[in-house]
């Protein structure tokens, strides 16, 4: 019930293409869904986050789509660039705690 399932494990995309990473959860008490980006040799950093009162949030080329009834959310990276090559983690938490439950990560490689 506390898990966040993330797919795919790895993703290869051509420059300019769309990268899509999916996450699913079971616990309906989750009310905060961030995505973290991690470059090799660095710690993860917050990329974008959404709350379940909206179905979509966009920041530049990065968009979170949220489907509350299906208990799924996804990260879309438009016009993917080689500089986007990194590992992406989805996560979830409940409002009464600062504890995050992370997905297993997706390694994205964008080739020129």
């Amino acid at each position: 019930q506390q898990q966040v399932k993330q797919s795919p494990q790895s993703l290869i995309v051509q420059k300019g293409g769309i990268s899509i990473i999916n996450c699913a959860y079971e616990n309906t008490a989750f009310d905060y869904f961030p995505w973290y980006q991690q470059f090799p040799g660095k710690g993860p950093a917050l990329l974008i986050a959404i709350r379940p009162d909206v179905s979509e949030k966009k920041e530049g080329r990065f968009t979170i789509s949220f489907n509350k009834s299906a208990k799924q959310f996804s990260l879309h990276i438009m016009d993917s660039q080689p500089g986007d090559s990194a590992t992406y983690f989805c996560a979830a938490s409940m409002g009464n705690t600062d504890k995050l439950i992370f997905g297993t990560g997706t390694r994205l490689q964008v080739f020129p």
Partner: protein, 113 residues
């Protein structure tokens, strides 16, 4: 900018040794966290702390303990290191106000021989 500093980038220890991993944050954050990161398993929470001298178990606390004597410093202790504790260890901190982003250090890659 928030800075979370982990004392060692790489560490090699022997089985049975007591190992200390140190983490310091410079933004007066109340919350501090220790995770381990393993391929295919993502980030798993070991312990976290909401305040000085306060600690709570995460999802995989077995074989670990923590210490938080000062607000800015959170230590992870491997009481008797074992080979299955070879991993990347990440420290993070955050404010308590509503849900705030966690700021991560760059990790300590620990090898237990």
């Amino acid at each position: 900018d928030v800075k979370v500093t982990q004392s060692s980038r790489y560490l090699v220890k022997r089985t049975g040794e007591k190992v200390f991993l140190e983490c310091v944050q410079d933004m007066d954050h109340e919350n501090m966290f220790w995770y381990r990161q393993d391929p295919g398993l993502g980030l798993r929470l070991i312990y976290f702390s909401y305040d000085v001298k306060m600690k709570e178990k995460g999802d995989i606390p077995e074989g670990y303990s923590v210490s938080r004597e000062k607000k800015e410093r959170f230590s992870l202790i491997l009481e008797s290191a074992s080979t299955n504790q070879t991993s990347m260890y990440l420290c993070a901190s955050s404010l308590t106000t509503l849900v705030q982003p966690q700021h991560f250090g760059d990790g300590t890659r620990l090898s237990i021989l």
